[in-house]
Each structure stands twice: as C-alpha cells, then as structure tokens.
C-alpha cells in the first residue's frame, strides 16, 4: 500500500517555486492598486450568481418601461431598478414572486438575507468554481475587442494624455469589467446588460466605508451621470470618485482612483454612450 504523505509531498513539490523580491513587497503603488481591486465589493456579483435579481410578474408588460432604469444613491453606493419594478415596489402590489427594491436607506430584508447567503456560498467551492469557470479574462482591450463583440465603451486614456501601464478585462455573461491602470491612477469600468431581464431587474453596488457628496454631471451630449465620493481607506485623505449612469438596457459604473474631479469629467465626456441606446446597434 502506498504512503499518502510521501505521494502527496512528491506531488506538491512539483508546484512552481516563486522568487519574491523585497522591493516588490514594499512597493506601495503596487499595494494600492491591489487593495483597490480587492476592496470593491459589488452586489452585482450576486446578480451574476443569480442570487439577487428581483423578479416581478405582470399580466401585461409595457416593453418600453423596461428600458428606463433609475439609479439612486444610498449610504453605501448605488441601487438601481427598472421603472416597472420601482412602480410595483411603490404601490406595494402583492404578486407571485414579487420582491421589492432597496429603499433609499439601505438593503431590503431579502437583499440582506441574500447577501448573507452569498457570503456562505463563498465557502461553497462548487459554486465559486462554477462562477470562475465562466469568467473570461483578457490582458488588453485590444485582445478583448478581437475576440468579443459585446458593446463596451471605454475611454481612450492615452489619447487624453493619461498613461496606461496595464489593461485587464473580465467578462462573465452580461457583466463586463475593466481595469485600466497608470502610474498612481487607475479606473474600473463595469457594464451590465439587462436586455435579457425580461421581467425586470434590481441591483446594488456597495463601496466599503460608504459614500457621500452626491452630485450630477451632464455631458455635452446630454448624458447625466450621478457622482459620489468615497474614501480609499479609513483615515485616508484620498478620495475615490464613483460615477453611474443608465443608458437603454445598460448600466455603467466607473470608479476613479487618483483622478481629480476635472479629469473624471474630461474622461466621461470623451465616452460616446449613444451606442448603448436601443436600436443603435
């Protein structure tokens, strides 16, 4: 009979060794980028996992009402839903499978329970592996555009004078996320496509530490973003600017780290959102 320990040790010894340099360990810029990437807690993931999409049933459906999505700000970030879902929530209409959207103050009981459930599900490796197995990752915008025809508007940061050291794109179903990083500055763009959510949708985006300073920014083309701020970490003076907008069936979110407000506006202004309008394709 073979010895488990010997066989296992032989097998694991075959895993690559890594050399880690003390300079890279102490590189604060690298740490900042990584912390920003890790600290973005999004309930959109729950939507991707099918854990939180709110379903409504109706006798008659006005297709045009599903195009309009409302994005609101709450204490922790953004919450959104289409007009029909909001209408049902406000009327308090009882129906089979009805659930409400989050009130302005925070999560509904159902969403809080779903969040707790998702945290437990995070320990369920089969679920995580299933989720990871469907995520495609691209190391550049160019690689993404070559292989994936999905609509995903991104700014030309180089053209605007902002250096870009690295680009990453992740695609999971109707959810696409991008990270564009320069020296001490980086942006995350998220795009949700709800064109398949025939019976309505609702979702939330949460930022650790909460948000403040809600304001609007309207581009010259007439697209109105909601902007809020959050602190990059507690006791830090560094402000992160978050932007959200809904166009047609799409919801777009952007998180700007290291950018001034004027730079954020310049970048948002440069993006042509008309491609997201229904019928534009």
């Amino acid at each position: 009979m073979n010895d488990f320990k010997t066989t296992y040790r032989d097998a694991v010894s075959g895993i690559e060794t890594v050399h880690i340099d003390v300079d890279s360990v102490l590189d604060e810029a690298r740490r900042k980028r990584l912390r920003a990437h890790r600290s973005r807690q999004k309930l959109i993931t729950m939507a991707v996992m099918g854990g939180i999409l709110c379903i409504c049933t109706f006798g008659t459906v006005q297709a045009a009402d599903y195009i309009k999505t409302v994005i609101k700000v709450n204490a922790y970030g953004f919450e959104s839903a289409d007009m029909v879902t909001i209408s049902r929530s406000e009327k308090g209409v009882a129906g089979q499978g009805e659930e409400g959207i989050a009130p302005a103050g925070g999560l509904t009981e159902e969403e809080a329970a779903a969040l707790e459930e998702t945290k437990k599900m995070a320990d369920d490796e089969l679920v995580i592996e299933a989720l990871e197995d469907t995520t495609q990752e691209y190391d550049s915008v160019e690689a993404f555009r070559k292989e994936n025809p999905a609509l995903f508007v991104l700014p030309d940061l180089e053209g605007l004078g902002y250096g870009v050291d690295s680009e990453k794109i992740w695609v999971n179903g109707n959810f696409i996320s991008a990270q564009l990083s320069g020296k001490d500055k980086y942006i995350f763009f998220d795009r949700m496509d709800y064109s398949d959510a025939k019976e309505g949708h609702a979702s939330s985006t949460v930022y650790a530490g909460g948000v403040y300073n809600e304001r609007k920014f309207t581009t010259e083309s007439g697209y109105e973003y909601i902007l809020v701020d959050s602190k990059e970490e507690a006791q830090s003076d560094e402000v992160v600017i978050h932007a959200a907008i809904s166009v047609g069936y799409y919801e777009l979110y952007a998180d700007f780290y290291g950018y001034e407000e004027s730079e954020v506006m310049q970048i948002l202004e440069s993006m042509d959102l008309s491609v997201y309008e229904p019928g534009a394709e």
């Binding site: 320990k5 694991v12 890594v18 995580i128 990871e132």
Partner: protein, 167 residues
C-alpha cells in the same frame, strides 16, 4: 530590519506560503499577491517572535486569513487547473509514467477537497505540522482540526481509486 534580513526571511518562507495560498486560491497570480501582502505586513509590523515555530505559525495564519478575505471579495479571478507537471518522455520506463500519473490523481483529489479540509491536509502532510501547531496557525480548536483531518481523509479514501496508508 535590514533589506538583506527581509529578503532572507522572504526566501525562507515564500515557497511554503505560496504553496498554501496556491492550494487555497487555485490561481498563481492571486497566490503571489497574497504572499507579497503577507510579507508586507510582516515587515511593517516589526513583530518579535518567541521562536521560529511561532514566526512560521504567524505567517501561515496571516496567509490563510488573506486567502479567506479574497474568497469573500466580490470578484474572483479565473481558476487555473492543477499546475502542469513534466511528463516523462516516451523513452522512460512505464513504471515512472504510472507513478507520475498516480501522484497527479492524488493531488487532483486533494485539490477538490473543501477548502478547510484541504488546508489541514496540506499543513499536516506537506508542512508536517502537528495538530497543535495547526491549531495555532489556523486559530481553530484541537477537536475541529482533528475532525477536519479525519473528514478530509475519509473523502480522499472515497474518491481515490487507490488505497493509501494515511498515518
């Protein structure tokens, strides 16, 4: 702490921590990030350890906590498969080929174990830590570690085609 000393500690422990993180996260980039973060905390904390064993337990604990934090974050990177291992050329003896495949099958089944069982199995069999040391590194009670080891072995016995001696 001089840079040379820091690099010496990194060289001493990075491989161990990387393997632990890799088995948790199944992704080499994430594992490397975790290990770098652990050493960052190690260096910045300027913690004094009673012994080498205490230092090792602290590093493992922080690594496992960092892995747990990543599990709970909203966006996961793509999982890689088991790391590729060199297969012998056709000229090698058939026995060697069979041996390599056997090791790979075993590693695959450990890879499939639930995270908490995988953790203790690795620390017990690869790092050769005692149950007491595993308790210190993971913050779990003795009874918990013992039952996770037992449960992990039971699952492996069920799933592995071959029989192994575990003690």
């Amino acid at each position: 702490m001089t840079k040379e000393y820091m690099q010496e500690r990194i060289d001493l422990y990075s491989d161990m921590l990387y393997k632990i993180a890799y088995l948790q996260l199944k992704n080499s980039e994430d594992a490397k990030d975790i290990v770098q973060e652990v050493f960052y905390q190690y260096i910045k904390s300027e913690k004094e350890f009673e012994s080498g064993e205490h230092e090792k337990a602290w590093l493992i604990k922080v690594t496992l906590n960092q892995c747990k934090k990543l599990w709970r974050s909203a966006w996961f990177r793509h999982t890689e498969g088991l790391p590729k291992q060199d297969l012998p050329s056709e000229n090698r003896l058939e026995a060697e080929v069979i041996e390599k495949e056997r090791r790979r099958d075993l590693a695959k089944e450990v890879w499939r174990l639930p995270r908490k069982y995988r953790e203790v199995i690795h620390l017990f069999y690869f790092e050769e830590m005692s149950v007491k040391e595993i308790c210190e590194a993971t913050g779990r009670r003795t009874s918990t570690v013992t039952s996770q080891l037992t449960r992990g072995r039971e699952l492996l016995k069920k799933r592995l085609k071959e029989e192994y001696r575990y003690e």
